[in-house]
Symmetry: C2
Subunit: 170 residues, 2 copies
């Protein structure tokens, strides 16, 4: 799948088949995140790859809209330094997340990010040290609705170019 098609066709997937992802698919997704660009090539991230159903379920209770994690085949928790320390921290996490999700889509794997607001609870579940922080985790899995992978883009899903782009100045 070429890049432009992946970008054009990718949509959020929150319901997944109860089928594990093969190890090579899991590695491909994590490698895409690892290979992402980052400010000064800092690579200021650590990923926790979760497939244990009990951990997935626990994590799914850490955000109001995070319930899709419970049914994911894989969750990747993106740990960062303190998100409030520099504006590049979450920007770079977003770049890594985009790379992982596009790579997954090419392999027929859907995904969705979840914001996690129960900071201390996520730390207790995943046991990461105080200098690392978790705000967003990604759910991955084969889409329950298999047609999503090849469906045309949803009409009105994104604002038009004219609504978003200014030329030369505001």
């Amino acid at each position: 799948m070429n890049v432009m098609d992946a970008i054009r066709l990718k949509r959020a997937v929150r319901k997944f088949h109860d089928v594990p992802l093969p190890d090579d698919v899991v590695h491909a997704i994590l490698n895409a995140g690892r290979r992402s660009q980052s400010s000064k090539n800092n690579q200021a991230w650590q990923f926790i790859a979760i497939r244990d159903r009990s951990v997935l379920k626990a994590l799914s209770t850490c955000g109001e809209w995070a319930s899709h994690i419970a049914g994911a085949a894989l969750c990747v928790a993106i740990l960062t330094p303190d998100p409030e320390s520099k504006f590049q921290i979450m920007f770079d996490a977003g770049q890594a997340a985009a790379f992982m999700q596009l790579a997954a889509w090419e392999l027929g794997v859907g995904s969705c990010p979840a914001s996690l607001y129960e900071f201390e609870k996520t730390r207790e579940i995943l046991k990461f040290p105080a200098e690392w922080h978790l705000r967003i985790a990604l759910s991955f899995g084969y889409p329950m609705d298999e047609e999503k992978i090849s469906a045309p883009p949803k009409k009105g899903g994104r604002r038009s170019l004219e609504d978003v782009v200014h030329w030369e100045k505001w």
Copy 2:
């Protein structure tokens, strides 16, 4: 170019040929950003696409490492709501930036993000209103070093999977 190859081969490009990008290439890059996923599909961004050399040069003085903007064929300034208001703001900006840069790479166009620290100066140059904020802009152009587009990944450019990934828990 498939997604995985684009991710594997993409590298930062800071020196560009003094050749304009065709309009369809500029539109393809901006469309990739526009189509990016965002928290609650908020699409909390506006893009200023800059090709005027005098504006590019002015913007290149707004960050310590932003000089590459001066020689870019296109700069996309990613405007967001207050980056400190929610951790998703810069995360989503990063996702849009990753989409634009991968789409560009597929079209033979190199890119590099620049952090802009002179907030008020960028506002004066680009005339955007107080509710929008600019932290990161992307330079685009055909790479001066044309071999970069097809060169194998630099050895040691990224940390190994083992250094970055934890399984199930930290």
